[in-house]
Amino acid sequence: MPEISRTFSELWYRVADFKPRLSTHLVVRRHIYRRNVWFILGDPTSSKFYRFNAAAYRFLGLLDGQRTVQEAWDICNAQLGDEAPTQRDCLDLLAQLQLYGLLRNDLPIDIQRLRERIEQIREQRFREFSGNYVFWTIPIFNPERFLAKYANLGRAVFSRWGLFALAALIILALRAVIPRWEEMAGSVNSIIAVENLPLLTLAFLGLKALHELAHGFACKAFGGRVTEIGIMFMIVLPIPYCDATASWAFPNKWHRILVSSAGVLCELAVACVAAIVWARTDAGLVHTLAYNVMFAASVATILFNINPLLRYDGYYVLADLTEIPNLSTRSHELMKWLTRRFLFGLKGEPCPPLHDRGEGAVMVAHAVLAFPYRLLVMLTIVLFVAQQYFIFGLLLGLFGAVMWLIVPIVKGLSYVLSEPTLQLVRVRAVTVCFGLIIAALGFIGFVPMPARVHAPGVVEPLERITFRAAHDGFLDGVYVANGEQVSSSQPLLAIASPDIAHQYERALAGVQLERARRDAAMVESTAEGMMSDTLLADAIERLRTMQAIVDELSVEAPFAGFVVAPDLHARLGSFVQRGEALLLLATLNDMVIRAYVDDRDFAWLFPNGLDAQDASRVRAQGRLYDHLDEVIDFDIDLQRSGMAGTRTLAHQSLGLNVRGGGIAVDPSDGRGQRTLSPQWLVTLRPRVPLAERGMNGSANDSALPTLPGTRVRIRLTRPPEPLARQWLRRVRQALSERFDI
C-alpha cells in the first residue's frame, strides 16, 4: 500500500496514551540556522547533541509527564495548524529520544531491554572502532580539570586582544621572512629528504599537540566541557586529538567557529614564531627545526585541517559559517535522495528538509567534491608511504583499493540490484546505473584522449660561436658593442701581438731576402737558381702561415648574429691569453629549444627510442615570451637531440630550486644542476623559422625579444589514445622501474 499520509500513522496507538517527559538533565540551547530557530538538546553525560526544529520542540515542550502524547499533539495541531509535526514525525522523534534514553516515564524498568541496549551500544562502539580502519582513535585522558584550572588563560588568549596579538605576530613574521623568501622557498626540497624525517615528525607531533590543546582551551573559554584527549592513528601516523564537541551547543556561531579554528590559529602563531626564529638564526639545528615547524604548520594545515572537504577543523568551520549543521551526513542524504528521485525516478519520498536553495547548493557541492578529494588524499598518503617502504605501501595500496574502490562499487551495485525500496523502479535504476558504468568504461577504454607531457626547456640559438683569443696578445680593437647585431663579415675585434707582428716582419723580410738571393743566383748558375727557388718557396710558405696567424688576430662575424661580449670594451689594450673566451656570437633569428624530458615521460613518448617514426608522431608546442598569445609548433631535431639520459642540467634555472623550474634536483648538489632522475635532452626547432615569422620585436614591439636562455614550457603531445591504455602503460612503467624488468 502506498504511503500517502504522513499526518496520521497506524502506529500512533502505541504512544497515544503515553505520558513521557524529557529527562531533566538535558541542556537546551536555542540556535539560529539560516534564519530558522532550532533547539539543541545536549546530554552532558554522553556529550551527544540532538537538534529539533521549533515545531518539534513545541511538541516536546508540551510533554510534561501530565499530558498524554495525544493531547500534546492535539494542542500542537490547534496552535500550529499545517506547521504542526505529523504523527509520523512525532513517532520518529519519540522513538529517537527513547532509543537514546532521554525520555522519562512512570513505567517499570525493563531490565532485559536495558541489557539489550547496552549490548547494542557496545557493539556499535566496537563497529566504530574496528570499522574505521583508517583513523583509529584511542582516548588517553580527561583534561577537564587541567583545563578548568587554566581556564583564565584560555579566556585571555581567545579574546579580542588575543586576535590583535596574533595579527601583530603575523606582521612581524612576514617582515622577517619576506627578505629571505627565495631562500625559504628554495629549501622546500630538503623537507622531503629522508634524513629530515625524524625532525619533521617531531615538529609535526609537537605542533599537533599544541593544536589540540588550543581546541580544548577555546572550548573551555566559552564554557564547554572537554573530557577526552587521545591519539588518533591516521594510517600509521599518530596524531593527537581533542574532543571539543561540547562547543556544538554554543548558541553563538562565531564561538563555535573560533573553537573549531583555535587549533589552526594556534599553529599559525607557532609558525610565525618559527619564521622569526628561522630568519634570525644561521644554519644549525634550531634553524632547521624552525623551518620544519613552519612547513608542518603551513602545508599540513592547508592539506588537512583547513580543508573543508575532510572532516577536520575546516569542515566544522564551513558548517558553522554556512549554518548547515551536520553538513556531511545531510549532504550525503540529499545526494541519495536526488539520485533516487531523479536518476531512478522513485516518487513519493519526501525531500530531506532544506531551509533554502543555497543550503542545498552547498550540500551538493560538498558531497560532489568531498569524496574524490578524500580518495585523492588517501592515494597521496599511500604513494608517499610506498616511496619510503615499498612493500608496506603496496599492501596499503591494495588494502586501499579494496576498501575505497572495490567495496564501494560492490556495495553500490548490490544496492541498485537488491535494495528493497528500489523495487518499484528497479528496471530504471539498473538501466541507468549500468548505462552510466558502460558509458564510463567505454570512455576510458575507447575514446582517444590527448596525452601530453610538459617539459621545461631553454631557448638556444641555432648556431653560436665563442671567439677565443687565438694567441697571446693585447686587445687592440673592439668594433662592436655588447648586444649588437652584426651582419656577416663585419669586423668584430682585433688583437695586437707584438711577438706575432715581429715574426711576421721577419717572415716578410725572409721572403725578400730569399727573393734577392734567388735573383742573384739565377745569374750565377741555373742549378743554384733552382735551389734558391726552393728556399724562396719555403719563405713564402712561412709568410703565408704567419699571414694566417695575423688574420686570426682580427675577427669577423662568420654569420649574421648577436654579440655577447660583456665588459670587452673595458679590456681594450689589456693582455689576453691564448684560448681566452672574448666574445660570443649567436644567431638570433633562428633558435632551437633544448627541452629536458624526464626518463619516464621519454619512454612513454618515444617507446622505441628516439627514431624518426616516433618523433613524427609526437607533436611539440609551446609559447615564446614575445608571443605569449601564439602557440608555436616545433619539430623534433633528431640529430641534435641527446641519445642517452643525462643527470646534469644545462642551466640551474630549470631545476626546482629556482622558482618556476620544474625538474627535481638533488638537494645535496650545491649548484642545483644534478637531477634526481635521468633527463633526456630533446632539441626542437620551430617549424617556421622565427626569422621568417618576423620575430624579435618587428611583429610586436612591446614584447621582449626571445633571447637565448629564456625558459620555455614545451607541451609534447602524443597521438590521442584511450585513457585505459595510457594508464596501463604508466603502471607497467612504474612496475618495470621498480623491479628493473
Binding site: I4, S5, T7, E10, R14, A95, Q98, L424, R426
Partner: protein, 686 residues
C-alpha cells in the same frame, strides 16, 4: 521453573484428554502462565555477513532431510505400523499410552517419533480405514521436525496433519491446526475426529460465530482446529483484556504466591480464551504465512459515524473536479497518485470557498490525494467488494475476501466516500500484530502446502521454516500447453471462451481460473453468450463452493473460479474423464507469483490422474500494467518479430518476479516496522 513443573504435574493428574475441562480457577491459572512466561525471541535485524550465514543455514536445513533418509525413516514407521495390525484394541491402547507418555515427557528422538507415528497410522487405519502412504508419513515426519512440507495437491494433506497433530497434542500444551477458512476447520476436525478420539485426544473447533465460552473451551482441548483470522484476533483480544503491562516478573510472583486470586485479576483471567501459543500446524502455509501477511491484523475500537466523515465526502467531490494528467499524475507501476503544481493551485482555488479546515495546504493535498488514490487505483470487484453497505477488501492475488480488515490511514474511508457509502470512523487502533510476528510467537511451527518452494527463503528468514519437498505418491502426468498471448483482454477472453466451447464438446471438464471477481463475472457472461452451462465461484461461501468444486471433475462440467475458491477440496474426476484426458485448467491471467499459478494448475492431475493446464494472457493484464517493462510491452504490441522471438516470455517472467518481490517488500516492511517499534517504541506492550 518451579511453575512449569507444577503445571505439568497438574496436567498429569488433571483431566487432560477428556473433553472440556471446566474453567475453574485452578484451570485458568494453569492456562495463564504460558502466554506471559514464554518470551519469544525478539526479532532482530540480520545484517551483512550474518545474512549469508543465515541463508546458508536455511539451505542446509532444507537439505538436511534428503529424500533417501526421509524415505528410510518413513519406511520404518510404515513397517512398525504394519506390525501393529495384529494387535488387539487393548494392546493398541497400551501402545498409545506408551507413545503419549513419551510425548508428554518431551521425548523427541527418532525412535519415539517412529513409534508414535506408527501408532497413529494404525489408529487411522482402524478408524477411517485409510492406510497412509509412505509419502504422507514423510510429510508428517518433516513437519514434526519443524519444517514446511511441500506436498502436491490431492496427496492427502488433511490426514497427514493428523500424525503431527496427534503427537503435538499428546504433549498437552495445545496444538493449533490452522486452516484457511471456517469450513475447512470444521470439515478437517470432523474428518480426523475419530482418529483423535481413538488416540485419547480431545479436539476443539473455533468458528467465526463461536462465543467466548466456546472458544475458551476449544482452546483448552488438546488439538484445536481454527482459521488464522480467528487465532490472531483472539490473541489480540486477549492482549487487550490482559492488564496493561503483563511483565513476567509480577505475573510469576502472583502465580507462585497465589495472592492475586481475587479482585480485578479474576475478571481478566476468565476473559482470556487462549492458553498460550505452543504449536501450530499450518495448512496451506503459504497462503497464511505469505499471502495473508501483507497486512497486519489490527483490532480497533468500532466507531460509529465518523466525525470527520464530511471531509472524506468533500475530498471525493474535490477529486472529481481534478483532471487526470493535468492536475494529477497516476503512476501504475509505482502505485501512486501525485498532485501536480497545477493541481495544487486548482485545489487552492476551490478550497477558498470551503470551510477553514481546508485552508491548510498539506492537509488538503493529503485528503484529496487519498481520494484520488481511492478512485484511480482501487477498483470495485477487483480490490474490494461492497456488501451490506460496507467495503470489504479482496486480496488482489487470490480473490479471497479479507474479513475484518481495513485499509489504513483513511484510505478505507476514502473508498467508502467514493462509493457513497456511510463513512465509518477510522477505527482507532487498539492492538496490532503482524502475521510475521504472531507466528514467531509459537514455540513450534510446522506447515504443509502444495506450493512453497518459491518462497522458501522467506519461510526460513521470517518463520524459521525450512521447506522440504515431498515426492508425490504416483508420478505426475499433467500436461502443460504453451502459453497463448493476446494483445488485449477482449480477444483473450473470447479465445478462452472458444477454447472452453471446444473442450466442452468433447465432454472434458474445464476449470477456468480468474484473478478477480470482476473477471470471473466477465468470463461468465461470455460463456453465457455461447450457451455453455457453467458455475461461478467467488470465494465467498466456502461450504457451497467446496461442493461445487468437488463436482468440477464431472464430465462436461465448466467451472469459473477465482483462485482461492474451494481451496482445500479435491477435484475428483468423474467416470470416464480420465480417458478423455482429465481435467483441463485454464488460467486467464498470470498471477503475481508463480506459486499462485501453480496452485491453480495443481487442481488438475492429482494423484497420478491425467490433466492439462493452459494459460491465456494478454498485454494489458494487470500484472504487465503494474510490473511489466513498459518499453518491452510496447515493442511486443507493435512488432510481430518481437512476438516471434518470444520476448513475451521474458516480459512475463520479469513482471512476475518483480510483482513477487514487491509483495515480499511489503511483508519485509511490515517486519521492519515490527522491529522498529519493538526496539524504539516499547512504551506499551501491545
Amino acid at each position: 521453573m518451579a511453575l512449569r513443573a507444577r503445571t505439568q504435574n497438574d496436567g498429569g493428574d488433571g483431566p487432560v484428554g477428556v473433553a472440556a475441562p471446566a474453567p475453574t480457577t485452578a484451570a485458568s491459572t494453569q492456562r495463564l502462565w504460558r502466554p506471559f512466561s514464554y518470551r519469544p525471541p525478539r526479532p532482530h535485524e540480520v545484517k551483512e555477513l550474518d545474512r549469508y550465514n543465515e541463508t546458508l543455514i536455511g539451505a542446509a536445513r532444507r537439505a538436511m532431510w534428503s529424500r533417501r533418509r526421509l524415505r528410510a525413516a518413513a519406511d520404518r514407521v510404515v513397517h512398525l505400523s504394519d506390525s501393529f495390525m495384529r494387535l488387539s484394541e487393548a494392546a493398541l491402547d497400551e501402545e498409545i499410552e506408551t507413545a503419549r507418555e513419551a510425548a508428554r515427557r518431551g521425548r523427541r528422538d527418532h525412535e519415539a517419533r517412529t513409534h508414535a507415528f506408527a501408532v497413529v497410522r494404525e489408529a487411522v487405519r482402524r478408524t477411517i480405514g485409510l492406510r497412509l502412504f509412505v509419502e504422507q508419513v514423510m510429510g508428517a515426519w518433516v513437519m514434526e521436525d519443524g519444517c514446511l512440507a511441500e506436498m502436491a495437491t490431492g496427496e492427502g494433506k488433511t490426514v497427514t496433519a493428523c500424525l503431527t497433530a496427534a503427537v503435538q497434542g499428546w504433549m498437552g500444551y495445545g496444538a493449533h491446526v490452522v486452516t484457511v477458512n471456517d469450513y475447512l476447520a470444521r470439515r478437517d476436525a470432523e474428518l480426523n475426529g475419530p482418529v483423535y478420539k481413538r488416540l485419547g485426544l480431545s479436539v476443539g473447533v473455533v468458528q467465526d460465530q463461536s462465543r467466548p465460552g466456546e472458544r475458551l473451551e476449544a482452546y483448552a482441548r488438546d488439538i484445536t482446529y481454527i482459521t488464522d483470522q480467528q487465532l490472531i484476533f483472539d490473541y489480540l483480544r486477549d492482549k487487550l483484556h490482559a492488564p496493561l503491562q503483563p511483565r513476567v516478573s509480577s505475573l510469576l510472583l502472583d502465580e507462585v504466591t497465589d495472592t492475586a486470586m481475587s479482585g480485578p485479576r479474576e475478571l481478566w483471567t476468565n476473559r482470556i480464551v487462549q492458553r498460550g501459543l505452543y504449536s501450530a500446524i499450518i495448512d496451506e502455509a503459504d497462503s497464511v504465512l505469505i499471502d495473508q501477511a501483507t497486512t497486519p491484523a489490527i483490532i480497533g475500537a468500532e466507531g460509529g459515524e465518523d466525525k470527520s466523515a464530511q471531509y472524506y465526502y468533500t475530498a471525493a467531490e474535490l477529486a472529481l473536479k481534478l483532471r487526470r494528467g493535468e492536475h494529477y499524475a497516476v503512476d501504475l507501476q509505482q502505485h501512486r497518485v501525485d498532485l501536480t503544481d497545477a493541481g495544487r493551485e486548482r485545489l487552492a482555488e476551490i478550497a477558498d470557498a470551503l470551510p477553514p479546515f481546508w485552508s491548510g495546504p498539506r492537509r488538503r493535498a493529503e485528503l484529496v490525494t487519498q481520494a484520488l488514490v481511492a478512485r484511480e487505483l482501487y477498483h470495485l470487484e477487483d480490490h474490494y467488494i461492497v456488501r451490506d453497505g460496507d467495503v470489504h477488501i479482496v486480496d488482489p492475488q487470490t480473490g479471497r475476501v479479507l474479513e475484518g480488515r481495513q485499509w489504513q490511514l483513511g484510505l478505507h474511508q476514502a473508498v467508502q466516500a467514493k462509493e457513497g457509502l456511510k463513512v465509518t470512523a477510522a477505527r482507532e487502533t487498539m492492538a496490532r500484530i503482524s502475521y510475521q510476528r504472531f507466528f514467531q510467537l509459537y514455540r513450534r511451527r510446522s506447515g504443509m502446502t502444495g506450493t512453497a518452494w518459491e518462497v522458501r527463503k522467506e519461510m526460513w528468514s521470517i518463520y524459521r521454516l525450512p521447506v522440504v519437498r515431498i515426492p508425490t505418491h504416483k508420478p505426475m502426468i499433467r500436461r502443460h500447453l504453451p502459453d497463448r498471448m493476446f494483445l488485449d483482454r477482449e480477444s483473450k477472453f473470447r479465445a478462452v471462451a472458444d477454447r472452453v466451447a471446444q473442450l466442452n464438446r468433447t465432454g472434458r471438464p474445464v476449470l477456468i481460473g480468474t484473478r478477480s471477481v470482476e473477471a470471473s463475472e466477465a468470463m461468465s457472461r461470455l460463456l453465457d453468450e455461447r450457451a455453455i452451462a457453467h458455475r461461478v465461484l467467488n470465494a465467498v461461501r466456502h461450504e457451497e463452493e467446496a461442493v461445487i468444486v468437488a463436482a468440477a471433475g464431472k464430465p462436461g462440467a465448466v467451472t469459473v473460479a477465482t483462485n482461492m475458491a474451494g481451496r482445500g477440496t479435491d477435484i475428483i474426476l468423474g467416470p470416464g474423464v480420465a480417458d478423455l484426458g482429465g481435467l483441463v485448467v485454464i488460467a486467464t491471467e498470470r498471477h503475481d507469483s508463480r506459486r499462485i499459478d501453480r496452485q491453480l494448475f495443481g487442481r488438475a492431475g492429482r494423484q497420478g490422474d491425467p490433466g492439462q493446464a493452459e494459460t491465456f494472457r494478454s498485454l494489458d493484464d494487470a500484472l504487465i500494467r503494474q510490473c511489466g517493462i513498459r518499453p518491452l510491452a510496447r515493442l511486443l504490441r507493435r512488432s510481430f518479430a518481437a512476438r516471434r522471438l518470444r520476448l513475451d516470455a521474458f516480459l512475463w517472467w520479469h513482471a512476475q518476479r518483480a510483482a513477487s518481490r514487491r509483495q515480499a517488500l511489503t511483508r519485509q516492511m511490515i517486519s521492519k516496522a515490527d522491529l522498529w517499534f519493538d526496539r524504539a517504541l516499547y512504551f506499551e506492550n501491545r
